[in-house]
């Protein structure tokens, strides 16, 4: 015996602790690294550091809503108009603001004063930003549930997808800098979609989606897919369309009505539904938003601009009224110089047509994956052809698409341009020099990381693959770099403050091309599967 001779051995003490401590159970479930929680923590630290960053008028909008819900009774919520930022979200969101305002009043009572316009003390900023960070935990929970609900074979893929959504630059830019509560809403949406995986979860999925609609009505764009899927898979027999499950119909109908009743009932009782609806759906807006969202109409506007230049040579007639507004595309009202104007009816019917096409497939093949595909296509159709679409609505496509992007390589091929275009299209939201490196570095980092990871994880497709636009996609992704550089730097050096609309026009046209390409690619996948 050498120097290891120790007291324990002399006295022949058996190590006590080893017997008492049970061996850690050898779990069969493989752990993927980094875990969702670890990423949440790191992302949260970055988001806390962003507290003093630029914030848009949406910050004041939400502060005003805190003030409205705190200082007024519910029956005056939708009438209050001291500030120009009136309450225009559905009642559950108002209730959420009311809940927050209870806390807010304790922290800084000036924050919840309706007359205190543009109030942004440090406690106000910290409180509102913190409320976004905390409410994002719902997204974490939803993604955790989503991964756990995935069958074992695809869990690695779904873990990667969950991380990509959790760390999405969309949420960083829109929620944590620009200021909104999207991550929480998408948390509810993902919960609802994940619940729809099993037959037993369909009812709760429907209820949750109804709740989501009462939080933010933009999700109405996705409602047709929900309606068809729940009708087909829950209310009717999967095998036989003509055999309805009456009990299921009643359960679903009653609970959805209850959700809506709880939200809108009180306002109906006070006779305020008309006022509420006029707040929720302001139909007086133009075709394109201030900055063109990257959809069909952006390309249409771009072509119109080009035609103005070549019109004299082609002997086309130009509408002089539309020509004068050089900053067209920046102001809300859009009229075209050469091409015919677009009516809301046309937008609506185009959207509807593409909805129906997606929903027919879902009706014929009501599986979960088709359902998510239909959600994505509904998002696409509404985004591409909708009237007055916000660029933020691109998340309505990206998030559902992410969930099935790793189904196989052909899905991934159409996801790639969407991710690139969708996130770059959000850049004009932040125009301050300080936030420029944040949005660019984060988005580029995210794209490199997740497109690389997805590329390694996506399985080969089971059917013959159509190589439609692969080379084009690579070229497309590469163009984004000079575009970002031009928009941020070169344009300012060349023109100083003139032609401000040029970078915006280039960005939205570029992004529109990407979104439309990915839409075509995805349609091919969806319809051929």
């Amino acid at each position: 015996m050498t120097s290891s001779f120790s007291l324990g051995q002399v006295l022949d003490l058996k190590p006590i602790a080893r017997e008492i401590r049970p061996k850690a159970p050898q779990s069969t479930q493989e752990q993927y690294h980094p875990t969702l929680w670890q990423c949440t923590v790191v992302a949260a630290t970055l988001k806390i550091l962003l507290l003093p960053a630029y914030k848009s008028t949406d910050f004041e909008v939400h502060r005003n809503w805190l003030a409205i819900t705190h200082s007024l009774p519910p029956w005056e919520w939708y009438y209050e108009r001291t500030s120009e930022w009136t309450l225009d979200y559905p009642p559950y969101f108002a209730a959420f603001e009311w809940l927050l305002s209870q806390l807010a009043a304790l922290i800084d009572s000036d924050m919840v004063d309706t007359n205190n316009l543009n109030y942004s003390s440090w406690p106000t900023i910290a409180f509102q930003r913190a409320s976004v960070i905390v409410s994002e935990l719902l997204l974490f929970a939803a993604l955790y549930f989503f991964v756990a609900s995935t069958p074992f074979g695809a869990r690695k893929q779904s873990h990667a997808v969950a991380l990509s959504i959790l760390l999405s630059p969309g949420f960083l830019i829109i929620d944590h800098i620009h200021f909104q509560y999207n991550s929480m809403m998408y948390g509810i949406l993902i919960f609802s979609i994940a619940l729809a995986r099993t037959d037993s979860g369909l009812l709760s999925s429907g209820i949750l989606f109804a709740v989501l609609l009462c939080f933010k009505h933009i999700y109405l764009y996705l409602a047709p897919a929900y309606f068809v899927y729940l009708l087909r898979a829950y209310c009717l027999s999967r095998n036989n369309v003509f055999r309805p499950h009456i009990l299921n119909c009643i359960k679903l109908g009653v609970s959805v009505l209850a959700v809506f009743g709880a939200a809108f009932g009180p306002f109906a009782y006070w006779g305020q539904l008309d006022q509420l609806m006029s707040r929720l759906f302001p139909f007086s807006r133009g075709l394109c938003h201030a900055y063109w969202a990257p959809n069909m109409w952006a390309i249409y506007s771009f072509v119109d601009r080009l035609l103005i230049l070549v019109a004299p040579y082609l002997k086309l007639s130009i509408d002089p009224g539309a020509l004068h507004s050089v900053t067209r595309g920046l102001v809300g009202d859009t009229s075209f110089a050469v091409l015919p104007n677009i009516s809301p009816k046309l937008c609506f019917s185009l959207t509807l047509a593409f909805h129906i096409q997606a929903l027919t497939t879902l009706w014929l093949k009501p599986t979960w994956e088709t359902f998510v595909g239909a959600l994505t296509l509904c998002g696409y159709a509404s985004f591409l052809f909708g009237w007055h679409v916000h660029e933020k609505a691109v998340l309505l496509i990206i998030i559902p698409f992410s969930l099935i992007a790793l189904k196989d390589r052909s899905y991934l091929a159409s996801f790639r341009p969407l991710a690139v275009a969708g996130y770059i299209s959000l850049f004009p939201l932040l125009f301050t020099a300080q936030e420029y490196p944040i949005k660019t570095a984060y988005t580029i980092g995210w794209l490199i990381l997740f497109l690389y990871v997805f590329d390694r994880l996506a399985p080969a497709p089971s059917r013959q693959r159509v190589f439609l636009l692969d080379r084009f996609a690579l070229l497309y992704n590469a163009i984004s770099v000079p575009l970002i550089i031009y928009c941020s730097l070169v344009h300012q050096v060349l023109f100083r403050d003139k032609y401000e609309f040029l970078p915006l026009m280039f960005t939205s046209t570029y992004c529109a091309v990407g979104v439309i390409t990915s839409w075509i690619g995805f349609m091919v996948c969806y319809l051929s599967s």
């Binding site: 001779f5 051995q9 962003l50 003093p52 944040i438 490199i448």
Partner: protein, 650 residues
Amino acid sequence: MSAASTPHKPRKKKRQLVRSNTLTDIAKVQPGSDRIDPEFNLVSFLLPARGKSQWISVPLILIFTGLFRWCVGIWGYSGQGIPPMHGDFEAQRHWMEITQHTPPSMWYFYDLPYWGLDYPPLTAYHSWICGKIGTLINPEWFALYSSRGYESQSLKVYMRATVIVSEYLVYVAALIIFIRHYSRSQGLGTTASNIALVAILMQPATMLIDHGHFQYNTVMLGFVIASLSSIYAGRPLWSCIYFVAALGFKQMALYYAPAVFAYLLGSCLSPRLRIGRLLAIAIITIVAFAALLAPLLAGTLYDLYRGFDLPYRPPPPFLAQRRITLDGKTPVGAILLQLSQMVHRIFPFARGVFEDKVANFWCALNTVFKLQKIETLIALPRLSAYMTFMSILPGMVILLGCPKPQLLPYAFASSAFGFFLFSFQVHEKSILLPVLPMTLLLGSSKGLSKEYRAWIGFANALAVWTMFPLLRRDGLAIPYTVLTALWTWLLGLPIFSVSCYYDPDLPNVPGRPLAPDELRTPTKIFHWWSYILMLFWHLLSAFAKPPDNKPDLWIVVNACFGCLGFGICYLWCTWKLILESGLLDDYFEYIERRVDAALNEADKRVTKYLGEEETITEEKEDGSADSASVVATPSSGEKHSKKKGKGRKR
């Protein structure tokens, strides 16, 4: 990619487990399964990158660590909105202003009371370049005189950008190359070296001071790392050049100078005398210094030639005291005046022994024993010089006798700690210097072991904690909290994890032989109490009001405890340096043999005694004792080192 050429095969490769010798430090591999449990959180983030291209992982690391840096930058800087003097931000801006608008001969003389230039020339050149580019963007930022105290969002963004760009060009580039050379020489795997890279880049103290408080420390530190890296790459002459650059950027690089000097000299003396190498090093160093000063002196001569009236008033005090007058009208006189003024500005011996409260020896001593009393016995500058010399002596002697490159980080840390603790005129920000080489040790072969992780984490946590009073003044309390918490969480340190201090797989019995990288109990107790004390201090300083007659009480407590902690870190680095040098190995072997003999004697006696008592269990007993002795052999040396190192071990 086309349909014809590639069949649609999944690109998934066969899972390969590359087991570098450090994998056991960063993860637990369950025997018989593929399951890998990371030891700390940072490992989780980099494990998936195993076996993947460095061309993906390194850029991603740089992007995301850069994001954190920039996000710290959107918070306050030193002296924001505090006229008339503002702070370090205004000082740096002012230097850009004066280098733009005054000729080089004026730089060290221009309006000294308002942030006169007091860094070496490379800083001046750097300011000149930053100022030139900035003036192109907006001339108001650096307009002469009228821009004093100028504050705007765009200026802030520009200045922050200069920090981050300078840092990426020098510090980050040097660090990546350093980690590559260093980890290769230490036999470290790619994943482990990436982990070390992230941990070093995310050091909270450096990020908060450079990107929050506002300074360009990382440029100087980057040159130091480049100098180290050149030594590992076997290019000592480049190492001299980089080190001169570091000195030329900030005189604080002198903290490392004894180690560099001793190493370079030692490498010329042993294993055999190499005069050629010595001469080459000397000449290159002189040439580098000459090149460093050339623009400044050439500018001076040019101004003299132009007949520019040189403002050599007042003359540098140390010349005035010795009644030396130089004629600024002659070239030689002008150059000497310029140089002496530069030295006077860079080394302000006229100031006190410490400014503000610093966690060093003098400040701590001053709280218990007023320094004025010592002043009557011996001049403080001289005393501090002696003590500094004593503290850096062990490192220098070892490097001279045994110039091995792998000792350099220890020697750098030991030397810088010596300077920080005992030298004259120390700023609290100088703690970055000793902490950096200590953190670089994360890239060594033992760097991610529990012992090193615990000590490096402790030094970093303590360093950033001692700077808290400064950071709070700059409005950086929240970034401080967030970044420190993030770093400790990533590295699995208290208060988030006990992984460095406790291993549930080891039996919890007294007298168990130590695992190879386990800390000794006194160390564990010291670390834990330090963390608890730091947290408690935060509570105190946040909620408790100090007594009226001692308004600075919390800050003094902070400095005194910081001094104690840094003193112990200094001892750890020095002790590790001695152990790693192998100079005392013979001595340890001798002791070991003596102790072994004594133990054998005792052993025989006990077995004899047991043999008489129970003959049946004897065989079992022997078997278990044998296996235990096999396990314990590698750590047997540690037992004895305890007597020397007091709670420290190899």
